[in-house]
Each structure stands twice: as structure tokens, then as C-alpha cells.
Symmetry: C2
Subunit: 356 residues, 2 copies
């Protein structure tokens, strides 16, 4: 079977600026918004025009490139000061996904290699690096997909939570990339998509993305996952990650932890698909990961529609931590790591440093 | 502290007909709909004007009374045939909550006691029985509340799922009745309400009902319950039930099972508050309980708003089964049954038959 080619772009470089599909209005509208500065990209990340850890990383990289291009006729001191601010603005946009910080660190390294160049040359180099981050993400997802596909049995009914698809990455997807690769390899796979309140990434994005590719998908309320597991209707769970701690604990979309606990109770394998850029070796365990809390209105309703009583108190943590002990395997572009732990992750990070 | 007196009626008898608050439009609108026949009440149950196992039972009882009154000038054969149809229509309205069948059985017994009476006298007797079912439910909830309140510690942060409040009963509530009684007894209790997709009983009904009584309530997405438990922010869980099997397995709103699994993982007590009328001694275990599946549009969006792609496949089971082993205690009007099992439930049902 030929590889899937997405009928949409999550983000793309067009005519000297970044365009991103507006994930807040999908699937009702397919709308590409233009971005021409780091500040605009930071706003786009904060307001969730773009979401998904790898996609956020790519967007941030292009945000730096946009400001570098915008400032390329400035004197070096001005260029350096302004570009430093761009890094700060992007780093402050969302706290949990580590790919954001990883991509910014990679852009900073690229910038450092051209300290002696003029602003125009630096800008050129930074745009190249953003393109490379984008291309590397697609390539990593394809490799991850091939490794992960071996874990998916023919005929499997696979539950996924949130959207870890092409829409969450530069293309192909992490969790959904594994499913795409399994199908490319000739397997029949159907997906059960948790709707993923409050932002409804499953109902709006995963369902839409899979229907675009004619991959069978059934939408359920998040509350129904345990019931379907108890009836033997789920064969595997696969999710993405926003940050993997040094011991294998996984921060991902709120509700992931619950799915992992349920999968364990029912002896269903629970897989996490994430590129190396999602692993944060600097963080020892999940308890140290900052969990973003967002506004109350996301829980009081959806969009402009509020169904809860006005003014009701809300807690809205948008990520949670799944302890490594609940993760059957971590799938990266380097292969499948069963029962992830601190030793295995340290070895993987060391090995991948040697490969670079 | 004085007892809570609700500022609303879930259902009430006014001017010879039944009025029910329309739970589909709460809290945006406080609207009482009139019902003047069993068929209208059956439609009201099916379309969820009224929901909650004990409230459905009361509504069905009044549905029979309404048809009996409507038919009271008919000859006996006509009265009997038509009233038999009313029982069938109401029994077919929703499959999972056993209180519906329990209330209908009680109405049928009352009817049988007046086989020799004329239709008008039978109608009078059936209306009396419906009023008695209503009054008994409030009294049972108050007794249940007093028993259950002993389990709730001062300062407790109690998670509840769906709405098992005054809106789910004739008044006071089952799970929320326990919380009301604990507060009446002088304890400080705050409630964390799962929003309870897809019908959003938590966001729309529990939040509204508790705010009416100035009971502190915080609304969360269903996905956030496990995260809050892992952070030590939940001290107890209390829910209602739609049907309790003879072995203590509990059918309740979809998602209840997940909360129970999470509570067990975190050593948080998981309580079920339900009147004896919810216990179905005829059903051996939860696997034998019929689980209603409702339409796809409830999951594709909310009300008229659809956010999922048009035509996406959906599974929408609206109840699930929590095995008895996950239930710390079952609270009934007869007291607190720790670690419910088949023996204890059989003894309780026998004892309560003797009390009648």
C-alpha cells in the first residue's frame, strides 16, 4: 500500500511566511492563518491555533526564523536583542510540551554557529534550520511508525486519546503515524477515538484526520473507554506525549493517565509514541513536569456555547502524568523500548547523541 | 443547620396533572413542562426531560395515575385494556434504571388491590400510590443521607459523577443527599463535579443544583478526575446508581466504572448511595444488566451544536457496570453496607421485606 499523503498541511512555509491550519475551528472550517512574526506565532501557540508537541516545536522554530528575516536589515546589536526577545516570547507560550524548548534550543545553537555572520546570513541560516526541524520531524514520525507498526496486530481495535496525528506534528503523526504505518504495511486497523474534553481534539481533529485518510474511526465520550475495555472491545492503546521524563513518566493530554490505569486493569498494552525531541533527560520524573492549567471557559462549555452555570468554579489542568510503570512500550524513531525506565532512557539519549 | 429545602421541584402534581422541570435545558432555562398522559410521560422519560433512576420511577408512577384519571369514566374492560397499554409504554421508555420497573410493579400491585372497584375509585387509589412513591422516595433519601453522612469527614473534598441529586429523585438526592445531610450535620464539605459527557449532567445539573444551595462545587472535565486523585485532591467519591445487581455490581452513568477504578488505585473510598428500590435481586450480576445505547448526535456535539465531523461513527453506551469489589460501601435507607456482596444484599432484601 502506498504511503499516506495528507490532504492538509498542519503548518507550511509559503511566500516568506508561515501558514498554519486553524485547529480551533476544525473540522467545521479549513482555514490557513498567516504568521509573520515570532510574537504572532507565540499567540498562535497560546491560543491553540496549533497544538501537539512536535507541531508546536516546528511552529516555534519558524517563529524565530520569521523574526530573523524581519530583522535582517537591522544592525547586529539590534538584531541580537530583538531575536533574544523572540526566543523569550516563544518559550513563554506554553509550559508543558518540551519540544517547544527543544526546538528553541536547536534554533539557538544554529544562531550561535553564525555569530560572525551578518543579520541577513543569520536569518538565512535560521530559516534553513527551521526547515530542517520540520523535515526531521516528518522523517522521525515515519521511522517511529515503522517501528511501532510491528506492535499492532492485524485486525486490532486501537484506542487513542487526544490527537497525536499529522495535525500534531509536521506530518504523518506519532500515535496515528504508527497506525498509518501499520495500515501501509497491509494490516487492518480500526481506531476508537476518545473525544478528549475539554478541547475535543479527538472529536474534532483525530476523527477528521482519520476520515480524510479513510481509516475506520469510531468516536466515543471519554467516559466510555473503560466500558469498552471491560467488554473486550479494545486491543491496544496508543497515545503521543508532550514530555517524557528521564525515568519514562509521560506527560500527555489530560485523561491519558486514566486510560493507562484502565488499560492496565484490563491487560491491554499501552503504547506511547514520541520522538526523541519529546524526551526531557533533564527532568528526573513526572512529578517535576509543569502541568499547564487553562481558563475556566474551556470546561464551562465549548467555543461560545456555555452550558454550565455562569460563574461556576472550575479546575482545568490540561495535561497529566502517566507513570512509566503503566507504559508497555515507548516507541521512538530509534525503535521500541519495552517497559521504559531511567536506565533505558539514559542509554537511548546517549546513543542518539553519538548518532548525531 | 436547618434541612435544605430545594428551590425547585424535579416533578410535582399541580391541578390534576404532572409537571416536570425540563432537565434538557437546565441551567439556561428553568422550565416546567406539563404532562397529562402515560404516553406523554414515556416520551418525557425517553427524551430525558426527566432522568435519574428514582425520579424516573416517580414519573412513571404518575404516568399510570394520569392515564387512570383520564380513563376513569370508561367501562371496566376499556379501562383495564388501556391502562395495561400504559404500563407497557412506560416500561419501554428506558431500559437500565430498575426503579422504573419497581415503580410500575408497585402501581400494578395497587391496581390489583382494587380489581373490584370501579374505574374512578381505581384511579383515585393509583394517584394515592403515586403520591406515596414520591413521598417514600424523599423519606428514603433523607434516611440514606443521615446514614451516609457518617462516612463523610469534616473538610472532605468529594468527587461525584453525573447527577444523583434532588434533580434525580423526588427530592434531597441520593449521592448529593448524603452531602446535604453531612452539611446539615455541621460538616464542611466541598464537591468536585465531573461534567459527565455526553449529556453533561454534572456540568448542567449537579453544578446548578449545588450552587442553588450554596454548597461549594468545582467543575472538572471527566478526564481530570484521575489527575486530581493523583495529586491528593479527592478524599472520597460518591455516586448514585441506576440498578444494583444481586451481587452488588452497580450500573450507573457511563464513566462511573472509570472513577471507581481510579479511586481504588488511589485508596480513595468509593461510595454508592441508592434506595432499596434500585436493588434488583432478580439480576445475579452486572453482566446481566441491559446497557442502553443512545443516539450518535449526543457524542458528536451538544444540543444543536455539532463539533465532530458529520457522519463520524459513534458508540454511545450511556451506562456502565462497576463490579462490587470496587465499592467501598453501599448506602441505602436501611444503613451502610460495607463491601457489598450477594449474601449481604440477599439479607438486606429479606429484612426489608419483613419491615413492610
Amino acid at each position: 500500500m502506498a504511503g499516506f499523503r495528507s490532504k492538509f498541511d498542519t503548518l507550511r512555509w509559503r511566500d516568506g511566511r508561515l501558514e498554519m491550519i486553524d485547529q480551533r475551528v476544525l473540522p467545521a472550517e479549513i482555514l490557513y492563518l498567516p504568521f509573520d512574526s515570532a510574537m504572532a506565532v507565540a499567540d498562535g501557540i497560546r491560543s491553540m491555533v496549533v497544538r501537539g508537541a512536535p507541531a508546536i516545536g516546528c511552529a516555534a522554530a519558524y517563529g524565530i526564523a520569521l523574526d530573523a528575516l524581519r530583522l535582517r536589515h537591522q544592525p547586529p546589536a539590534e538584531f541580537n536583542r530583538e531575536l533574544g526577545s523572540a526566543f523569550c516570547a516563544l518559550a513563554a507560550s506554553r509550559p508543558t510540551a518540551v519540544n517547544l524548548f527543544w526546538a528553541l534550543a536547536r534554533m539557538r545553537s544554529a544562531w550561535e554557529t553564525c555569530r560572525n555572520a551578518d543579520a541577513a546570513q543569520s536569518a538565512e541560516r535560521l530559516l534553513e534550520e527551521a526547515h530542517a526541524i520540520f523535515a526531521d520531524d516528518v522523517a522521525a514520525n515515519r521511522r517511529m511508525g515503522r517501528h511501532g507498526a510491528e506492535l499492532i496486530k492485524d485486525g486490532a481495535r486501537v484506542l487513542t486519546h487526544c490527537n497525536a496525528g499529522a495535525l500534531a506534528t509536521a506530518g504523518h503523526g506519532t500515535a496515528l503515524g504508527v497506525i498509518r504505518s501499520a495500515i501501509e504495511g497491509g494490516k487492518k486497523v480500526s481506531v476508537i477515538a476518545d473525544e478528549t474534553r475539554p478541547f475535543l481534539q479527538g472529536a474534532r481533529l483525530t476523527a477528521w484526520e482519520l476520515m480524510q485518510d479513510d481509516i475506520p474511526v469510531t468516536l466515543i465520550a471519554d467516559n466510555a473507554a473503560g466500558h469498552l475495555m471491560s467488554r473486550g472491545e479494545i486491543d491496544a492503546v496508543i497515545v503521543g506525549a508532550d514530555r517524557v521524563a528521564g525515568n519514562g513518566d509521560v506527560a500527555n493530554k489530560i485523561g491519558t493517565y486514566q486510560v493507562a490505569v484502565l488499560a492496565r486493569r484490563h491487560n491491554i498494552p499501552f503504547y506511547v509514541a514520541a520522538p526523541l525531541s519529546t524526551i526531557d533527560g533533564a527532568i528526573a520524573c513526572g512529578a517535576d513536569i509543569t502541568i499547564e492549567e487553562r481558563g475556566a471557559d474551556e470546561v464551562r462549555g465549548h467555543g461560545d456555547l456555555h452550558w454550565a452555570p455562569a460563574g461556576v468554579a472550575v479546575r482545568n489542568p490540561v495535561f497529566d502524568v502517566t507513570p512509566a510503570e503503566l507504559v508497555t512500550a515507548l516507541i521512538t524513531e530509534q525503535g521500541v523500548m519495552r517497559a521504559p525506565d531511567a536506565c533505558k532512557i539514559k542509554a537511548l539519549l546517549n546513543e542518539s547523541r553519538h548518532l548525531k
